[in-house]
């Protein structure tokens, strides 16, 4: 009985501790693309150019976001990223950095 009484507050504490991680949908994401003249798109909307910049990225109710880069004479890049992939990238490596391949 004593164990059971302890379990409920512990579970509540764990749930509370998880809340910020689970509910976070917005991230500040650094993106840099070479060439710097490349256009950068997040979820299909042009947000800037290749020069390194920090973007506010919000997943909202989506499980993934779509980040794209394109420049004349280069092969475009499209990445569909989950929240987990964004979190891992930010914590382990920092910015997203892409170098576009020149078209043959």
């Amino acid at each position: 009985m004593a164990n059971r009484n302890l379990c409920i507050p512990l579970a509540s504490l764990l749930a509370l501790a998880c809340l910020p991680a689970c509910s976070t949908t917005a991230f500040k994401v650094g993106i840099a693309v070479d060439p710097p003249t490349a256009a950068v798109f997040v979820n299909g909307t042009r947000v800037g150019q290749g020069t390194r910049r920090v973007y506010d990225v919000d997943f909202g109710s989506s499980e993934r976001i779509c980040v794209q880069a394109a420049a004349p004479g280069f092969e475009p890049v499209t990445e569909l990223l989950t929240k987990q992939q964004v979190q891992d990238q930010l914590s382990k490596y920092g910015d997203f950095r892409w170098t576009l391949k020149q078209e043959k």
Partner: protein, 131 residues
């Protein structure tokens, strides 16, 4: 009453049919690497004929996007966006390609492809590059 395996299967089928296939409407747009709109046909899975029949075109007759209703009968559905040649006189597609190769041969653009999920962002931009 004893529930047989057949009853269970029937019940499951009934439940699935009642729940229906979830659908989602995506906004589809297509540009090239210069950020210019590219007239394209938007194909669900491999249904090229259905795409033409349902008039699933983008940037044909002007710079616009396509509201595409996608049924998710599986967790991920393929969307192919392939360029179409447009007749300048009529503003309509000159041909209705039935494959990516046919589209590339007619336009010089490589088709773009994406595997979408029900929970993906609404707006989907496809960036086509030249062959």
């Amino acid at each position: 009453m004893k529930i047989t395996r057949n009853h269970s299967l029937l019940l499951t089928a009934l439940l699935v049919s009642c729940a229906g296939v979830p659908t989602r409407t995506f906004q589809i747009d297509a540009i090239d690497v210069d950020e210019s709109p590219v007239p394209c046909i938007v194909v669900l899975g491999d249904d090229w004929a259905g795409a033409a029949e349902n008039n699933q075109y983008v940037n044909v007759g002007g710079d616009n996007s396509l509201a595409l209703k996608v049924p998710f009968d599986r967790p991920e559905v393929d969307i192919v966006v392939a360029a179409v040649p447009v007749d300048p006189a009529t503003g309509k597609p000159r041909i209705q390609p039935k494959s990516r190769t046919e589209s590339s041969d007619a336009t010089g653009f490589l088709a773009d492809f994406r595997r979408v999920r029900l929970t993906d962002p609404e707006r989907n931009l496809f960036i086509l590059r030249r062959r």
